[in-house]
């Protein structure tokens, strides 16, 4: 995406392509809860996100570039989210909207994922419960900046060793486990992408 030769035609072409991608990010709205309503409000007449290029709210992952995870993600919904993420063609970006998607929010319970960034790479986080539509547009513009530079979190290359180092890993935190219970789905046979090995439990008391 950043261009492998230094020829000015290809770099200019790449800049043009990145500019085009940035200004036509088609969202895949993954609205589950209250943040979904604010996302809907952002796409409506008052805070029109269509003027930023996000015109087509296609609910088809195969035809979109930007996954907007808005709302709390529960145990049952996480495999669905990952399946949708896999189905999106690259280059793809992800916005984690709201406190629940970014970190579990007000709900630290047995059934909610404490932040989707443990499992899928996130480009922009929106704090708020729910974030205002202006915050949504801010995150959209942040992702547009990234796209113009040709960067995406889903594209960052890491070696296997780096991936287990929290400072270098594209996933911001290691998954929140206390001990494994039930079917262990994190091993490579269960995933479509190569994954890191089981990391140490997240910081903090998980009792």
């Amino acid at each position: 995406m950043t261009g492998s030769t230094n020829d000015w035609t290809t770099t200019t072409l790449n800049t043009a392509i990145n500019w085009a991608r940035a200004n036509s990010l088609w969202p895949m709205p993954f609205g589950t809860a209250c943040c979904g309503i604010e996302m809907m409000a952002t796409f409506m007449a008052k805070y029109d996100a269509a003027r930023f290029g996000s015109e087509v709210m296609k609910f088809s992952p195969r035809q979109s570039d930007l996954l907007i995870v808005s709302g709390r993600i529960s145990l049952k919904m996480m495999p669905v989210l990952q399946r949708i993420w896999e189905q999106m063609p690259e280059p793809k970006w992800c916005i984690s909207m709201g406190a629940c998607a970014s970190s579990g929010g007000v709900f630290d319970t047995y059934t909610l994922i404490q932040g989707v960034d443990q499992f899928i790479p996130v480009d922009a986080y929106m704090p708020g419960c729910p974030p205002r539509p202006e915050a949504f547009l801010d995150a959209l513009m942040m992702v547009q900046e990234k796209a113009k530079k040709g960067q995406a979190k889903s594209q960052e290359y890491v070696t296997s060793d780096e991936a287990s180092d929290p400072a270098k890993s594209v996933a911001f935190r290691t998954p929140d486990t206390h001990y494994r219970h039930g079917v262990d789905r994190s091993t490579p046979e269960h995933a479509h992408h190569p994954v890191t090995t089981e990391s140490s439990p997240a910081a903090g008391d998980l009792k």
Partner: protein, 182 residues
């Protein structure tokens, strides 16, 4: 419009007491309804009576839930209680039936043949408490994933779970693409 008729409470109480007799463990008066306490095995009988008795006609289903009294300060007859709430459109009163279910054998008859609304609510009680409803057409988990182990709303289940919420594959960037190429 169906309106609340407090005078009909006495009628309900009298008929329930006459019907249940010794099987009625107790009765409590709440702000706008009465709560009848029975053993789990007698609950269906009482609810069928409330529904089919022409002078009572508790034909409307309101709610079905359960409570785990493991850490309750006042001793209760059993650990679990299934609470049924019904409304009688004719009389204009609500009634609640609290059926106590023991820990060792948490089963009681299902009322899905009386009220269709009991179908999902009983599944939810099974899912979250582990109380089995005998005669339910399709008793399986409804809110938790199908392969989940444990019954979360019991008092001895931790709030933050037992690690299920970290048990998903991690989708980093591809670790197979060499550095430097686009």
């Amino acid at each position: 419009m169906i309106t609340y008729n407090p005078e009909n409470h006495l009628k309900v109480i009298a008929q329930v007491e006459a019907r249940m007799g010794e099987r009625l463990l107790g009765r409590e008066e709440k702000s706008h309804y009465h709560q009848f306490k029975v053993k789990g095995q007698d609950a269906k009988d009482l609810i069928r009576f409330l529904r089919e008795e022409p002078s009572l006609a508790f034909a409307m289903f309101i709610d079905l839930t359960a409570v785990d009294y493991l850490r309750y300060p006042i001793a209760q007859p059993e650990r679990f209680a299934v609470v049924y709430t019904l409304l009688s459109p004719e009389l204009g009163v609500k009634a609640q039936v609290k059926a106590f279910v023991p820990d060792g054998d948490p089963r009681l008859p299902s009322i899905t043949d009386l009220f269709a609304g009991a179908n999902w609510t009983e599944r939810e009680v099974w899912d979250l408490y582990g109380i089995e409803f005998m005669g339910h057409p399709d008793l399986k988990r409804i809110l938790m994933p199908d392969d989940y182990e444990g019954h979360p709303l019991r008092k001895d289940y931790p709030l933050k779970g037992r690690g299920e919420r970290g048990n998903f594959p991690v989708y980093h960037a591809s670790t197979q693409r060499p550095k430097g190429e686009g």
